[in-house]
């Protein structure tokens, strides 16, 4: 373990170009997936949380259940779609970073949508009486809910990011773990483990953890800066 910490430190300070390439791709893929999943998942979650329609209960159960979708199953289903023999084979997406972004987007979309739905629904219940007494429009009410829930929604987004950057099952199938092209932190860890380079694998894991920590620190700093502005 100590050896792994030492190795992790040396890896980072040595500015090993291979390592930084892998970290860069991990961040690029997972942040893009997060962006896509947020653009789709936040509005879907907000709408389902805010509105009432027949079949809503079933959709909510479905959304919640999909949060437990194993990454390897997402990877397999996507592989079957984008393999050269699959229906989308002509797009030549397999073994590219784009395929990895799609896989992670599919993986975290249910998380973003389901948690957003719960937050908006709870807040709506709280505000409902005020909205009625002030007879505000539904559009205004939704905007108010989103604005007041924004810090909780940041946590939702961070949860999605955490799931995306930590998963290995989906990206190793549709990315192929190709050196200098689709190798990310988690697939590199899997590869080093299979080589018996356990200390190096753990060192990469520590680096990954630090990256996740930095992203969360950045979110916390943004939040406190926003809070200070709000109360000036």
């Amino acid at each position: 373990m100590l050896e792994a910490f030492g190795l992790a430190f040396r890896l980072v300070v040595s500015f090993d170009p291979d390592l930084y390439e892998i970290i860069g791709l991990s961040l690029r893929v997972s942040l893009m997936a997060l962006l896509c999943a947020s653009l789709i998942g936040l509005p879907i979650g907000a709408l389902v949380g805010f509105t009432r329609f027949p079949g809503r209960g079933i959709i909510i159960v479905f959304m919640n259940a999909l949060m437990g979708m194993p990454p390897v199953v997402i990877g397999l289903l996507l592989y079957l779609m984008i393999s050269r023999s699959g229906p989308l084979g002509a797009l030549a997406l397999l073994y590219t970073p784009t395929a990895m972004i799609i896989a992670q987007t599919l993986l975290i979309l249910p998380i973003v949508a389901a948690l957003t739905r719960q937050i908006i629904e709870d807040l709506h219940a709280e505000y409902d009486e005020q909205f009625r007494s002030l007879s505000v429009s539904r559009g205004f009410a939704l905007v108010t809910l989103l604005a007041d829930a924004r810090y909780s929604l940041v946590t939702v987004v961070l949860a999605g990011f955490g799931r995306a950057i930590a998963e290995v099952g989906a990206v190793i199938i549709v990315g192929g773990n190709i050196n200098h092209f689709t190798r990310v932190m988690t697939t590199a860890i899997a590869l080093e483990t299979s080589k018996g380079q356990l200390a190096l694998a753990v060192a990469l894991g520590i680096v990954l953890l630090v990256i996740a920590l930095l992203v969360n620190v950045a979110a916390a700093v943004l939040r406190s800066a926003a809070l200070r502005r709000a109360y000036v």
């Binding site: 050269r84 699959g86 073994y95 590219t96 192929g176 773990n177 380079q197 502005r229």
Partner: protein, 278 residues
């Protein structure tokens, strides 16, 4: 107002940077790239890291290696998800070609399989003369025998030895016979922890860094021969296969330059693969 505008600007810049970054990672125009579906031992042993830069320097072609077990590599190649196949299960390779999924198969190189186990060798496999004898002893001993159980080249070889010994180990699955359903490296990690025996290719074994108490107990039996083959995915079946680039790669690998490079690759002073293309 200014604040929120500049913040929006920063977010927009971040998003466009990410989009640019991603598209930049995809295909640059005119770049010559092929995908090789491969067994894992050739990657885990570092062979590709040694060979491919030489090939790129000679031809300008980038080779993207997807290293999975032989069984999965064959399946992926059947689906057309690659231009070239490098695996080690000759009869499956010949079937792959006969079924029209690949053009002709060529020998590329060989090494051998070894049986590894705890260095105190509780089941005394090291006294066995042949692989069949060793497997028979393993089936009667108390120590566990771990199997890849993943339809890989090594797994196919293991099953052929059990068959020759007239033993069906899967009836003992869960007791002394442990099917791991894992890659070679993962299987060796588990085998080391369990104090079990297993069959491995020599290249993965030499390059494996977590041997712990494991050592070679059986080697040198001719039946442990391990032949690697190279096949182009059939362009007649999958029109997107980059025939010209794939042929250049195969010609280089089986030609004087590639074969010499394979012979020159050593790890810890040991040659891992012996070239034998005709």
């Amino acid at each position: 107002m200014l604040n929120s505008l500049s913040r929006r600007g920063a977010i927009a810049a971040l998003i466009s940077a990410m989009l640019l970054g991603v598209s930049g990672g995809s295909y640059a125009a005119g770049e010559k790239v092929i995908v090789v579906q491969s067994t894992t031992s050739t990657q885990n042993s570092g062979l590709y890291d040694y060979l491919l830069p030489k090939f790129k320097a000679a031809t300008g072609i980038t080779v993207r290696v997807v290293a999975v077990g032989t069984g999965q590599a064959l399946k992926n190649a059947e689906n057309g998800d690659g231009d070239v196949l490098i695996v080690h299960a000759k009869s499956s390779e010949e079937k792959f070609v006969a079924d029209g999924f690949g053009l002709s198969r060529q020998n590329l190189m060989y090494n051998d399989f070894v049986v590894v186990g705890p260095s105190d060798d509780p089941t005394e496999l090291s006294g066995s003369g042949t692989a069949v004898d060793a497997f028979t002893r393993a089936s009667q001993g108390s120590a566990a025998f771990t199997s890849r159980g993943d339809n890989s080249g090594t797994h196919k070889k293991e099953m052929s030895i059990w068959k020759a010994a007239g033993i069906d180990p899967t009836t003992a699955s869960g007791s002394w016979y442990r099917e791991l359903g894992a890659g070679m490296g993962a299987t060796l990690n588990t085998t080391a922890l369990m104090g079990a025996y297993t069959l491995t290719d020599r290249a993965t074994w030499i390059s494996f860094k977590n041997k712990q108490n494991l050592g070679i107990v059986v080697q040198g039996d001719p039946s442990l021969f391990n032949q690697y083959g190279i096949i182009m995915v059939n362009p007649a079946r999958h029109a997107h296969v980059k025939q010209e680039l794939a042929q250049t790669f195969i010609d280089w690998m089986t030609g004087a330059e590639g074969q010499a490079a394979i012979a020159a690759y050593t790890l810890e002073g040991k040659q891992l693969f012996t070239p034998n293309a005709e």
